[in-house]
Structure formats: C-alpha cells, structure tokens
C-alpha cells in the first residue's frame, strides 16, 4: 500500500472509531516504504525494499486496556480488529497507570518533513549512489564499505475524544567507511537528510577517502587528559545519551544523574557550562520533525538545557499527573546552539590536542555520573601548535557528557546528524563541533 494521505487515513480511522463499543478507543494508522543498498569490498553485497502499513487499535473499559493490530483495511477487518481489542481489554488486569486519550490538541503548522524527491528514490538511484562511492575508491587503492537507507512514511492517530493527528516524512541515511588497502588507514563519513537532493555520495565519499589516506601509519601517543575537538557526529553520540537520560520519573525516584543528594531533582540547576543551550523544535528548517508525539501530545519548541541549566525533564502523562505538572511530548529532534568556528579555526586555535572524527561502541559505565566508555575510530589526529601534526592510534575514553560540557572551550558550526533508528527524519539532531579540555583517554587501541 502506498503512503496514505491525511484524508485517506482520516476516512479509515473514522470508521474504526465508529465501530467502538468500549468506554473509549484510540487508533494509530502508520505506514512505511523503505529501501536500502549495502556494499563492501568495493562491490554491492545486498539490496532490498520493504513496505508495511498497520493499524493498531487500543480499546479500554475503565483502566482495563486491550490492543490489537491488523494490516487489512476493508470494513469487516476494521470491525474485527476493534472487537478483538475490546475482548482483550475485558480480560486485562487494571493498569493503574493508564491515562485516557487526549482531547484534540493544537498542533501548529505541518513541518516540512516530507520531500517528494526522497519519496521517489528508485533502485537505480541507490545503485548509482553506491557506484559514486565505490568507483573513486577503487581508483585510489582504497576499499569502500557503505550503506544507504531511505524511507517514506506516515503516521496518524484518532480517538473518541475527537483528537486527530497526521504527519508524513521522508528520510535518507548514508554512511561509508573507506579503508586504505594497506590496512593502516580508515575514514568515515555520515549524511542524514529529509531531502535526498542534498545528498551527494561522491562528495561525502571523497571526505572519507581523504581521511583514510591521512590516517595511515598512525603513531601512538600516551593516554591521558587531552584537549579534544569533537566533530559533530562524535559530540552528538555523547550528548544524545545525556538527553535520552532526562526522564523525570527516574530523577524523582532517585535513580538518575538528575537526582539530588537528600532527595529532589536538579531541575532548574546549572549542570554544565552556561554557553550550553539545547532545545527541541519540530519546525526547525534543518531538522524538521513531526509536530506531535506518539501519544498525541502536541510538540512545541522546548528548552532542555538553557544557559547550562536543566530547563525541562521528560514527564510522561501518568507521571505528570502524579506530580501536578504538564506532560512533556518526547522530543523528535535535538538542537544544540553552535558558534561560528569551523573545525579548521578550532585546530588553528589549539596548542596541543586531538581531533576526533567519531566514537564507537559507547556503553554506559555508571548511570549515577553518566560515565560512558567507548573508542575513537576512522580518523583520529594529533594537533600541535595550531596544525594537524600526524594521525594517532585510537584511544579508549572514559568520560561523562556532564563533565565534558563543564570543560567546554569552543562551540563550532552545527551539522545535521542522525540520532539512530533509521532514516525516518524524526530522530535527527543539529549538533555543533565542540572543543573540550581535559577529555579523559584511558588506554590505546591498535584498531584501524
């Protein structure tokens, strides 16, 4: 089934709601068409397409809730799925945390998340995009391995309280790893857009190839505390982990980095450098995202960190009701304000430091301090007296994004990066390159 329009979904969902005999009903109709191509060893290894549309219906009697789903949309099927969700609700134990559906919310203008050119990506486009990456590599004694994934999809919600929400979006994700054939150099690049016309796999691949060549024959330097320049993808990985941990309930329960000694939370307290400003905004031009969250709450521009202070935590509807506060829609994007400095400017301004292309295999070590470990990968360079001196062997780090943002030196230019979870366009971030002092590298890795 193709992508359904707002009118088409509304028609189906109205029928669904009309079949309800429960105390209440909420239905989600979602669909996605996607395609991908994967290559390695300078040759395409796999490619494919997938398509999925499904209707999920939630019925409730009091606090007893039942869910059922179906991927057929004739009237008989729609009624069947509603009846099944009602039967399941009657059999369910009470869920004391169940919240009745929301009334109609005000969603504001539709963000520009759907771009026609991306929706029209063909297998031929994907093959050419891969070829534009593979062919230059094979001419330069480099081996390319990459992955391009695109999607077009829609999401919609309707309930018996009158709420209706709809959004459609497109996205494309591209990553490539270029390795020098002598096995001593590796470079990587990533691109993430709603609009595929912004993607040039040849241009992106050239950057990764240059990094592969420049990173050959890396030298070992002693682990320790270094000034680092983190490219946006590296910075985003650690910042994203911090932002995903800003759950209010965990903080209130005393098991979060935002919990306070003696009880309470750090809401309203300064936790990082005052130049740090992070917010979410569905209408941001660079990283548009859906104007409603999965539970129907209207998204709006919202500060997460304002001048280094915790401005908002994420309250789900149940927890907000317990704490007599407003619920928080889960952010669909994250924007960290940047500066004007380019990576080159930051290098020029660095006496002794390390340039990091990306991090790899980041895992939580201590949720109390938000300490993470991981490694640098695919292009790590030593900076001395304002210049890149030579490539260096990769490091393992043990660092907390909270400590890191307290050691902020410079904010650089922003770049759109994927936040994981595929190319839907909803999970993207706009993150600057950052220069940080005293970043903790604890050991060396021989990995290339």
């Amino acid at each position: 089934m193709a992508i359904l329009s707002k009118e088409e979904t509304k028609k189906i969902l109205e029928k669904v709601i009309g079949f309800s005999k429960a105390d209440g009903i909420e239905a989600n109709l979602n669909g996605n068409d996607g395609g991908n191509i994967r290559y390695a060893r300078n040759s395409v290894s796999t490619s494919g397409e997938d398509s999925n549309v499904s209707l999920n219906v939630q019925s409730y009697f009091g606090k007893k809730v039942g869910n059922a789903s179906i991927n057929e949309f004739d009237d008989a099927s729609l009624e069947k799925v509603v009846r099944r969700s009602e039967e399941l609700a009657k059999l369910a134990p009470e869920n004391p945390e169940f919240m009745e559906p929301l009334a109609q919310q005000t969603y504001g203008a539709e963000p520009k998340t759907f771009i026609e050119s991306t929706a029209k990506i063909t297998p031929e486009y994907r093959a050419q995009a891969a070829a534009d990456s593979i062919l230059p590599a094979s001419k330069k004694d480099i081996t390319a391995a990459g992955f391009l994934e695109d999607s077009r999809g829609f999401g919609s919600l309707m309930n018996n309280k009158g709420a209706f929400a709809y959004n459609k979006s497109t996205g494309v994700d591209f990553t490539v790893t270029m390795r020098s054939n002598d096995g001593t150099g590796s470079g990587w690049v990533a691109r993430n857009f709603n609009d595929v016309s912004k993607l040039n796999t040849a241009e992106a691949s050239a950057i990764a190839m240059e990094k592969a060549l420049q990173s050959r024959n890396a030298k070992a330097i002693e682990p320790g505390k270094y000034t680092v320049i983190l490219e946006p993808n590296a910075a985003a990985d650690l910042l994203g982990l911090m932002l995903f941990a800003m759950n209010a309930r965990q903080a209130d329960e005393g098991r979060s980095f935002l919990s306070k000694k003696g009880g309470g939370t750090k809401l309203g307290e300064k936790i990082v450098d005052e130049r740090v400003n992070i917010y979410t905004d569905p209408w941001h031009e660079e990283v548009p995202t859906g104007n409603w969250a999965g539970n129907g709450l209207a998204r709006k521009r919202m500060d997460l960190i304002k001048n280094g202070t915790v401005a908002n935590m994420i309250y789900d509807r149940y927890w907000a009701s317990q704490k007599n506060t407003e619920p928080t829609p889960f952010p669909g994007n994250r924007i960290m304000e940047g500066g004007t400095a380019s990576i080159e400017d930051m290098i020029k301004d660095t006496k002794r430091g390390v340039l990091v292309t990306r991090f790899w295999y980041i895992r939580a070590v201590d949720p109390q301090t938000l300490l993470y470990t991981g490694l640098t990968r695919d292009g790590t360079f030593y900076i001395e007296n304002g210049k890149i001196k030579h490539p260096i062997k990769n490091f393992r780090f043990n660092e907390s994004p909270i400590i890191m943002l307290n050691n902020l030196e410079t904010l650089g230019k922003q770049m759109r990066v994927a936040s994981g979870g595929g190319p839907g366009g909803g999970g993207s971030s706009l993150i600057p390159a950052v220069k940080i002092r005293d970043f903790t590298f604890s050991s060396l890795s021989d990995a290339v």
């Binding site: 395409v44 099944r84 869920n95 098991r255 295999y361 070590v365 393992r396 021989d446």
Partner: protein, 546 residues
C-alpha cells in the same frame, strides 16, 4: 481477575529494550500461538513452488524458508504488569543464485502465487545485481538430507504455560526483592519459538521447532541521604530451553564463597531476587576499588560476554574479509595468522570451540538457515588459533570445502548470513574448584554477571564491568567493591589465563539480542565456560563526581 485468560498486545513498551520490529511481528492472541497453520506436507508443497519456479527461471541454486516466529514478552515493575506482548510473524523468504549472483525476496503471502512472485523477484534482483558482481558465488557442497526434522528438546513449552503463572512468578520475584530492602524491582520474561521450514535445490526438506527463554530482572537500592543508587541484575542466563528452566532444581544450584547462588540448567528467580536486594544494599557502602593490576577470577555468566566480544566476533570470517567494515568493523585476526598455525591467541590452558549442537544453548539447532547440519569445531586449540566461523559461500576462502553450519536469519523476511555459533571455553582438565581458585589468589577480584562492555572495531582493546565485584585478599573474600572495570588487549588477556575450573563449574552465558549487519539483524548465542583466572589484568576505577 482472570489473569489466566489475559493477553495485552503491543504498546506498553519493554523497559527501554530496543527490539527490532521486523523480528517481533504482529500482535496475536495467546491461543493463536498454539495453532498449527500449516502441516509439514503443505509446507513441502509450497517450498517446491519456489524451488521449481527458481529452476525454470534459470537459477543454479535456490533455497526457501517458510517461517513462523512467535514471541511472548512479559514485563513487570514492582506490583504491576507493565506489558504482555504475544506476537507472530509468518511468511516466506526465497534466496536464489542466478548469473552467479545472490538474489533474495520475501513475502507474507504464503500462497503458491505469493511464493512464485517472490521467487521471480529474487531472480530479478540477482540478475540486476550481477552487473556489480566481480566474482561468481561459490557454494561449498552440501548433500541433500531429504525430509528431516529437529526440535529443541524442551520438557515444557513456555507458550503452553498460563500467562497468569508466569506473571505471578515475576511479581513474586519483585516482591522478594522489595521485601529484601530494594526500592525498585522490575522483571521480564522473554519467550521465543521459531518454527522454520527449509528446503533447497540440494534436496533437503528440513522442519525445525526452536525454543528459547530468558527471565531477567533489575533491582535498585537508593540511599537518599548520600544520593547514591545501585542496581543488581539477575544472574540468570537466556537458554535454548522450555519453561523447565524456570523450575528450580537443587542439582543446578552452585554455592559460592560469597553466599550468592549461581545457576546451571534451571533458575530460581525468587532466590536470586532476594540475594540481589542484599547485594545492592551492600554496594551502597562498599569500598571503591584501588586501581592497579589484579588477578581476576571471572565467573561464567561474566566471562561469557568477554568470550563473545573478544573471541566470538573477531573470528567471524565475513568480518575478517571486510563485509562488516562499515558497521561492526573488521578483525585483528587474519587469514595469514590462521594459516601460520602459530598464532598464540591465548595461553596453553585456552581451548575455545564453536558448537551449534550443545544442549540447552541458544544457538543449538539441527541445521542452519542454509540447510547445513550443525556440528562442533575448534577455534583455538591449546592457545593456538586453528579455525574461523564460515558459511557456504565464504568457506572456500579458507581453503576449506565444508561449511561450518552457522548461517542464520532473524526472520523469514531477512536474508540469512554468517552469525556467531555458540563459542565456549573448554573447562580445565584437572579437578579444580572455585573455592580452590580463590584460595590460590593473593591480590585479586572476583567478578560475576554481565556489566558494561565495549571493544574496538578490530577487537583488540576492551573494557568490561560486571554485576558484582568481590575483593580477594590472601586467598579470602574480603568484601564487595565498587567502580571496577578492567581493560586489556584480546591476545594479552587470553595469554594471561592461568587456570580454569573443571567441568563441575561449567555453565552457559547467553546473548539474546546480538546485533550485526545493515539493516541490523539480531541473533541469540550462548557461551559456556567454567570460572577462570587471569593474572595481572589492569583494573581502573570508574568512580566520578558530577
């Protein structure tokens, strides 16, 4: 409340576990999980549609997988059920070689017409991709096995156990932890049943019924005054077993000098939750580790993850060849190192084997997802690297003629590729108990359970935490430690292995959702070992102040 009949489908989350939707399927009723939609003879007829279509369209090889993948996930928190999901995914995947190139297509239309169309799409994709092919696919020969079956030897099908019974058990575990002083307790039960029918143009028709189960929990203790919080996860292992794993048996319990009970082929979740609360409380005031070199005594439910990351992954041939370069990475292990016959992966004590036949393991099947009968083979023998893990289209690159039988796909809708078999450390040959091992250590740390883990993309440098840490001083347990992580290099670490307990201590660790590939697929794999000692490993202190 009629919990017996209760089913709640989808929507309530799984405690933050990122589960791939394609591997889960659509919500269904509990009753539907016990239905049999197709008989074996019907599956054979449908499979033949794919094979005949492929052959007549010019394919030189074809295989077809008719798969029904059933899952039930139950998650609870303190006194309430947070979610119960019962899901089914049913469909067909067809893989062909045409013009020397692979093609794959799948469909949830399990009719002769649907299968014919999917096969034609697979052929078309193979022909289109042949333009990029530099070398035609070479398959290691496999004999046709005819019509065969294989079932996980379960004693009690978890899907037949009333949901009420399973919920009661999880809520009892939460209560045990809270009665023991835990502030919060959440518990989960994952159950998987793969009903897989495989047929190929080699003449195999293989019907398999695979079961897996994983009970787990997290217990939190919070000290408001100091602002500290500590957690202790379950000491269970995911297993290739039925519900019998949930019924504790005395002979499966192993006492430790720390007063903690560890488990072999059955699990006592209530006993473990009680211990977890006690240990989490003790962690609040336990001392922070002094960084430095220690002799580590690593318990199997901890060591399994180290084996997984530092031996299992680096010895996957597709990684070594570069097929995973853009995602999981490559490997320090090379075909040259293997062929040298002298690469010292570990000390002489270290023999590590791959085994897809080990009873109770997550990876145990009769035949892999390209119809190769499963077996056991050595990867490291007396410390020397002797083999890798390879499937039919790559094993020839090692100069070998027989696939190792470790091809897997998470679902009918995804293409099968090389996945890690069970990889295990052979127990010590001489009688040696955990008590004796601890007595022999002067300055060491005993680590049990999985914790934080991270390793580089070529599998040299790693850092591991654990669930619980105990200091060993002059042959005695000297109390709990906090903030422990060890860092090492794969080859250096395995060469520091000086002692391994005997087979009385041998147990399985499991990874239920091991990710690999783009788009990513999960697989489940076990790692067996006995407690082992590693000398002079670098331990860091992970304590910080923010």
């Amino acid at each position: 409340m009629k919990r017996r009949d209760f089913v709640q489908l989808a929507g309530l989350g799984l405690g933050g576990l990122a589960l791939p939707i394609s591997a889960i399927g659509n919500p269904v009723s509990i009753e539907a999980l016990l239905e049999v939609p197709l008989t074996v003879s019907q599956k054979k007829q449908l499979a033949d549609v794919a094979l005949n279509t492929a052959k007549s369209a010019g394919a030189t090889y074809a295989d077809v997988r008719i798969g029904r993948y059933l899952n039930q996930f139950i998650n609870t928190r303190e006194k309430r059920v947070q979610g119960i999901q019962s899901t089914e995914s049913f469909g067909v995947g067809v893989r062909v070689i045409a013009k020397g190139t692979w093609g794959f297509a799948s469909t949830n239309d399990v009719s002769p017409d649907g299968i014919k169309k999917a096969t034609e799409r697979a052929i078309a994709i193979a022909k289109a991709n042949s333009k990029f092919q530099t070398e035609p696919v070479r398959l290691a020969p496999v004999k046709g096995y005819g019509e065969v079956t294989w079932n996980t030897p379960i004693q009690k099908n978890a899907f037949e156990v009333p949901v009420s019974e399973k919920v009661e058990l999880l809520l009892s575990a939460n209560a045990a932890a809270q009665n023991g002083g835990a502030n919060f307790a959440s518990s989960n039960l994952f159950q998987v049943n793969e009903q897989k029918y495989f047929a190929s143009t080699d003449g195999s028709y293989i019907d398999q019924d695979i079961h897996r189960i994983w009970p787990t929990f997290t217990v939190n203790v919070i000290d408001r005054a100091s602002g500290k919080f500590k957690s202790r996860d379950a000491m269970s292992a995911p297993m290739g077993m039925g519900y019998e794993y949930m019924i504790p048996k005395a002979e499966d319990k192993l006492a430790t000098p720390m007063g903690m009970v560890l488990y072999r082929n059955s699990y006592d979740i209530i006993e473990d939750a009680t211990t977890a609360a006690r240990q989490a409380k003790e962690m609040i005031s336990a001392k922070s580790v002094e960084p430095g070199k220690y002799d580590l005594v690593l318990e199997p439910n901890h060591l399994g993850l180290t084996i997984h990351e530092s031996v299992g992954h680096p010895l996957e041939l597709d990684r070594i060849l570069g097929y995973e370069a853009n995602y999981a990475g490559t490997s320090f292990a090379s075909i040259e190192k293997l062929k040298s016959g002298t690469f010292n992966y570990g000390s002489k004590q270290v023999t590590i084997f791959a085994d897809k036949t080990q009873p109770g393991s997550l990876g145990a099947v009769g035949y892999d997802d390209e119809g190769v009968q499963c077996k056991r083979w050595d990867l490291i023998k007396d410390g020397i690297l002797v083999n890798f893990q390879a499937i039919r289209d790559q094993v020839h690159m090692l100069g070998q003629t027989e696939s190792h039988g470790c091809c897997y796909s998470q679902s009918w809708s995804d293409v099968q590729f090389q996945r890690m078999p069970n990889v295990s450390l052979a127990p010590g040959k001489d009688p040696y108990s955990i008590d004796q091992m601890i007595k022999d250590v002067e300055k060491g740390i005993y680590i049990a359970g999985r914790g934080s883990y991270s390793i580089d993309q070529q599998r040299y440098n790693f850092q591991f935490g654990g669930t619980v840490f105990y200091e060993i001083k002059n042959g005695q347990i000297a109390g709990m430690l906090n903030d422990v992580a060890y860092q090492s290099n794969t080859q250096e670490f395995w060469n520091s292995c000086v002692k391994i307990c005997d087979d009385r201590d041998y147990r399985l660790f499991g990874s239920f959702f091991d990710g690999k590939g783009q788009p990513s697929q999960v697989s489940a794999v076990s790692h067996g070992s006995s407690t082992a000692r590693f000398n002079g490993v670098n331990v860091i202190n992970t304590g910080r102040t923010i």
